[in-house]
Symmetry: C2
Subunit: 300 residues, 2 copies
């Protein structure tokens, strides 16, 4: 069954009012926001990836969903398949680093043993509180579309890792770190959440995620790719604006806000919402064709 069919069936079950009809990145339960991500070996990461980086990314991607709700991190739980000592030790060191870096205390979880040779499947559930919790569906016609930080760094880092690029060059090391150990924009999310109409994190690519925000909000969105903010290191590797806007794993915050408003954090205006439907691109004000792929999709 594909994800859309499965979610449609889940919506026929008794749903919690905080489930937001299973259409958002996080749910609300009392004063908490709750989000959960599962990573699968061979799908979301490779058996050869450093276990410490997998731990970091598993936690950081969940915290990024909390950031998009403007939440303070309250706790995480971990469901973990026990493995060999070396892998587990390296994972634990990455887990220690990411939980300390972002003050994410461990609440509980479960450990299991897998049949021999089974791919690892890891789940983290993250809990935030004190959240303004803007939905992804709240954009209004006339809103500007903004994004924090720079886009495309993780995509360039992934390409560098695939090319086996040397990491003793500072620019490449920066891009690899952006790919392997993303920083959830928790402080930015807290500053933005009370003011924005809609917010989500950019996980699969700026264009596809902008299209999703527009669809959830029942609007059209126009993005000007030449305005997409890129780092000096991404520029130096020749990453085009369209490369950047269609790469995944940025974990920056994408948000819709009234046209005249200026965000209190480092962010770039990259587009605008209007009545209608769909995503379109403009270059110097003139429409341009959409690329064949808007972003990254894991299958489900």
């Amino acid at each position: 069954m594909d994800e859309a069919s499965f979610l449609a069936r889940l919506r026929a079950l008794p749903l919690h009012p905080g489930a937001r009809d299973l259409r958002d990145d996080a749910a609300t339960l009392g004063r908490f926001v709750v989000t959960s991500d599962t990573l699968v070996e061979g799908v979301h990461f490779l058996p050869s990836d450093p276990p410490g980086d997998i731990a970091w990314k598993l936690v950081a991607t969940n915290l990024s969903d909390l950031a998009a709700k403007g939440a303070r991190v309250a706790a995480i739980t971990l469901n973990y398949p026990l493995s060999d000592d070396d892998w587990d030790d390296a994972f634990l060191r990455g887990l220690d680093a990411v939980t300390r870096a972002h003050a994410a205390p461990l609440l509980g979880g479960d450990t299991v043993t897998l049949p021999r040779g089974a791919p690892r499947i890891l789940t983290v559930t993250a809990f935030g509180d004190d959240a303004a919790a803007p939905p992804r569906s709240g954009a209004r016609a006339g809103d500007a579309l903004w994004v924090t930080g720079t886009i495309g760094d993780a995509g360039a880092g992934l390409a560098a890792a695939r090319d086996g690029a040397l990491t003793d060059d500072a620019g490449t090391a920066y891009l690899l770190a952006r790919y392997r150990r993303p920083t959830p924009r928790l402080a930015e999310g807290r500053a933005l959440a009370p003011h924005v109409h809609a917010m989500m994190d950019v996980s699969d690519g700026l264009l596809i995620d902008a299209a999703r925000m527009a669809a959830a909000s029942g609007l059209a969105v126009t993005v000007a790719p030449d305005t997409v903010p890129r780092s000096a290191a991404a520029h130096a590797r020749g990453i085009s604006a369209l490369d950047a806007a269609t790469a995944g794993d940025d974990y920056e915050l994408l948000f819709a806000a009234p046209a005249g408003w200026s965000p209190p954090v480092a962010a770039t205006r990259v587009g605008a919402f209007a009545s209608g439907a769909g995503l379109s691109l403009t270059l110097g004000g003139a429409p341009v064709a959409l690329p064949a792929h808007l972003g990254y999709q894991h299958g489900a």
Copy 2:
């Protein structure tokens, strides 16, 4: 790494105060209690098991942990590996049944796609509120040890399933249902929790779980196996008291309460706590040897 070593390492990470040092079946987060169980195909269930029963058991075992905390069910999340249509459909029907039977609304979760041939790994996290939340470590010297319902039914049901026993005999059907679709003792847990010193659910066998409660409480416990309550159906299949007390999957509530107190729910007194350490058995007041296996263990 084995589970004990992994948990010891996790305890060196920043822990949430509600984590109870990762030594209990549920954690507390604000007004919620949180518990999570992961089931692995080939470890906790067989590929040939009915998917609807797997859904039921996955949810029911989590709700049983909430019952042991005296909690009201608030919500569940599901992390699910998408599969073929038939399996997913049967799973969804079991999920529908168990969530409606126990008023457990779905809050969120995640879906993933697995590499071909990978064993399924499913996680449910359950949230309860309004809980008195007695710990498993609170038994006091002199307390009586009680258990709700009857013990050994699920073990007898599992044996019947392995034997390929006919299910058109009412007793066998009852035992199979107790194995495949356990009932979390939510009402009993809520009635008991404000009054008992310690409580946990019996998941791996009465003897091993009684020993764990005693160890967590820093006490010795004595169990009189001939007092272990068995159903007529278990009796009819010749299940001995020791068979019953060392079988798993009961999902009854085991609790410690002051010697003179009578529980407000159907329960049987099966033992007593004293200062000291370890588990011992008595028959007619005289000590008897422990069986070779006290209960069921999944490896980790």
